[in-house]
Amino acid sequence: MTTTTPAVKPKGRLLEPKLLLGILGVLVLLGFSLFTGVYDIFGTDDGTAMFAITRIPRTIALVLAGAAMAMSGLVMQLLTQNRFVEPTTTGTTEWAGLGLLTVLIINPEASLLAKMTVAIIFAFIGTMVFFLFLQRVSLKASLTVPIVGIMLGAVVGAFSSFIALQTDMLQSLGIWFAGSFTSVIRGQYEVLWIVAIVAIAIFIVADRFTVAGLGEEIATNVGLNYRQVMLLGTGLIAIATGVVTVVIGNLPFLGLIVPNIVSMFRGDDLRSNLPWVCLLGIAITTVCDLIGRTIIMPFEVPVSLILGVLGAVVFITLLLRQRKLG
């Protein structure tokens, strides 16, 4: 008995027609994003300038932040072998926020780069703390893991609030917490391009992350340096989360819902899934941002609010589904 053409060939079919359709759909959404807003970019003289100063940066930021958070969630889920983790359910975002706050207190005039670096370092430390904790207690029960993560995040968040209260920074913290694309303008968002590098790095080492997702023993069996991959993954997640946190703020649940939806339809081969995870991340962020921009026009609702509502619904649906499957 011989097998004919392999039914599943992970490579070589990255650019399938469905994916092209997906790209097209996202492009249409981005088009909407470019032309949605209070300012009349066609009727006024400085319309073109405004278009370049706010609309284009905002749309690019949506693409980068959406893709980065979705991919961070995916990598995190593989590394912890748990479907319910992502940077906002493991405390990573809160740690990045604490880092940001620390910089603001020590040096309110700190450059964007300095803020970002500290946020990344804090996010890295926080994620490592979470991973080490998981390893130590070897919690495999899927729900305990995000609960522990959310608790850790809550503790760090409370600590941040306390410091902010003491130093009169509560308002800054509040603004940060409500992740929003409103303030994205030319000259303020360019560092987000760093996450594009992270995306490329994740794509290159995709197979290692998938192998690590099979657990330490299977990974070691096939000769993978498990600890090294964990460190690399944590580093990439920290960079993505740190950068997005500093520039945009908190984008809850994105890393949770996107990988789960993609996995439901396509399984978990990381490399062939990555383009889909990016696309869906961008699409959801853009849709949420569009909703936020239009429901109380001419004002805006922070995108994190819309994401939070959507994320909670998907999270609960996943829980119920999981229970049904046993």
């Binding site: 011989t2 097998t3 599943v8 998938t210 192998v211 070691t220 000769g223 993978l224 340096n225």
Partner: protein, 251 residues
């Protein structure tokens, strides 16, 4: 050939393995048997370098498992643990393909694809290769894991209780697959088995362990013996002549 020399491991305050000095010959199936807590799985895990040793040396095909780079060892010895359940949704073929990771680091060549197909065929999984692991029965999933370690194409294959959770029919099928792998693919297979009669029938050598030490090593003909088995398992065992060789009766 697997050589253990004065291997010692303090697993926990109560459980100590060794000192174990043992030579497992090349080729065929060697079954590790013994009562619960004898240290069978622990020893297998140490040979597969998933668990460190306190002292002594373990060599597989001449390579010291503690000093050889993990990625090189992955081409010499493969190990499958008992508990394998992960949240990753992979198809059978994708899982088996990861067995080729030590050779191709994820970028599969046509040779890799051929070996993957062969492993899948070898365990009769061709019809299931596009299915997701969570859609399979326990026996099918176990076969997929074994196909993965076979695709790794290592001379030595270590399996920790591959019959766990399998019913009678699938246990027999699994042992037949392993026997064929040992013979046709020239593998040295070491397995932890709970059922002494499976060990007696399908293995070429039996290694009996008790209290962290190897107490008996030999061919099934020699080990399938009233006295030896009663001593090893600490319960009265009677070996009778069955239609297909000796049978241990212990109830």
């Amino acid at each position: 050939m697997i050589t253990l020399t004065e291997v010692h491991k303090k697993y926990s305050s109560e459980v100590t393995i060794g000192p174990v000095t043992l030579e497992i010959p090349t080729g065929g199936i060697t079954a590790l048997v013994g009562p619960n807590g004898a240290g069978k799985s622990t020893m297998l895990t140490m040979v597969g370098r998933l668990l460190g040793i306190d002292s002594g040396t373990i060599e597989v095909a001449g390579y010291d498992v503690t000093s050889t780079a993990s990625k090189d060892l992955a081409k010499i010895v493969s190990i499958l643990r008992q508990e394998n359940h992960f949240v990753t949704r992979l198809t059978v073929r994708q899982l088996v393909a990861f067995g080729r990771f030590p050779h191709s680091k994820g970028r599969l060549t046509t040779t890799d694809e051929e070996i993957i197909s062969r492993s899948i065929d070898f365990l009769d999984l061709a019809e299931l290769e596009g299915r997701y692991l969570d859609q399979l029965s326990g026996g099918q999933r176990q076969r997929a894991y074994v196909a993965m370690v076979l695709a790794q194409d290592t001379e030595t294959v270590l399996l920790d209780e591959p019959l766990n959770n399998l019913d009678m029919k699938h246990s027999v099928l699994m042992m037949q697959h392993l026997k064929r792998a040992a013979q046709e693919l020239n593998r040295t297979i070491v397995i932890v088995l709970h059922d002494i009669n499976f060990a007696g029938h399908y293995s070429d050598y039996i290694c009996a362990m008790k209290h962290g030490k190897v107490v008996q090593f030999g061919t099934p003909e020699r080990i399938m013996n009233d006295e030896i088995l009663s001593e090893v398992f600490e319960t009265p065992v009677q070996v009778i002549d069955g239609p297909n060789g000796p049978l241990a009766v212990y109830y």
